[in-house]
Amino acid sequence: MSQFFPSGGDAAAPLGELRIALQVDIPSDVRYIERVVEIVRSQCAAVLFAPRHCALNVPVALSEALSNAILYGNGENPEKHVRIRAEVNDLRLILEVTDEGGGFDIALETSDPTSLDNIEREDGRGLFLMQQLMDSVERFDDHGNVVRLTLNRA
């Protein structure tokens, strides 16, 4: 059925002033990740972000931020929640992932997984990939630990 709902709509339709804000709250369980990613991905497609952004950059970077929030931030404590806010306008997509943990230092925790020392390690690619796939990755405190990913429209 989905081919009958072309996300683009009328080619003549203006996009400029359309503004979307989305908020999703989930318990600290990695099984929610795929569904949340699909929700944001479809949003991304609906506002006509580049196919590659919708299929690669957004799903992978958001997955990483969610895993980290669930595993490290909330220690998989099912009582703790992760909040995802997405804001899209004609210029950019901003994703904020908030966990209930104490935060961390992006610069300190990011290592180069492509170095000879690290290439065969199983972990340590999450923050690196977020930074590669997004235009900016920031962290700050705001009623919890917030990781903000920004992707400019191609």
């Binding site: 795929e34 990613v37 992978v60 990483e64 492509t114 199983e122 690619r125 690196f128």
Partner: protein
């Protein structure tokens, strides 16, 4: 999302259907390790039906590849679409794996 495993000659072929991410990577790992334990040596993972892979999925591929090599075996990958290829390039994992364009190519040259 799921993993289907079949034998083609002496090669174990795994199809990754859907995502390979933190929520299901352990299942892939276990399935492949089970085959390795049974004495299988040649493994091909086919990504033609895969959506996206996260860093924990990449990590599982790295650790499987190492374990298979330690048993004198080999792991190959096939059918990465452009987006997935980019992911391997960004992480330089394209230098660590034997990556074939098609399943047939991967099977032929084993």
């Amino acid at each position: 999302m799921s993993f289907s495993i079949k034998k083609q000659g002496d090669i174990v072929v795994v199809d990754v259907e859907g995502q390979l991410i933190v929520g299901n990577r352990q299942e892939l790992k276990q399935k492949v390790l089970d085959e390795l334990e049974k004495g299988e040596k040649k493994f091909l993972i086919d990504f033609s039906q895969t959506g996206y892979i996260d860093s924990s999925g990449l990590g599982v591929l790295v650790s499987l590849s190492k374990k298979i090599r330690e048993q004198g075996g080999e792991l190959r990958l096939a059918n990465l679409n452009d987006d997935l290829k980019t992911l391997f390039e960004l992480t330089k994992l394209d230098t660590l794996f034997q990556i074939a364009d098609t399943r047939e190519r991967a099977l032929e040259t084993f």
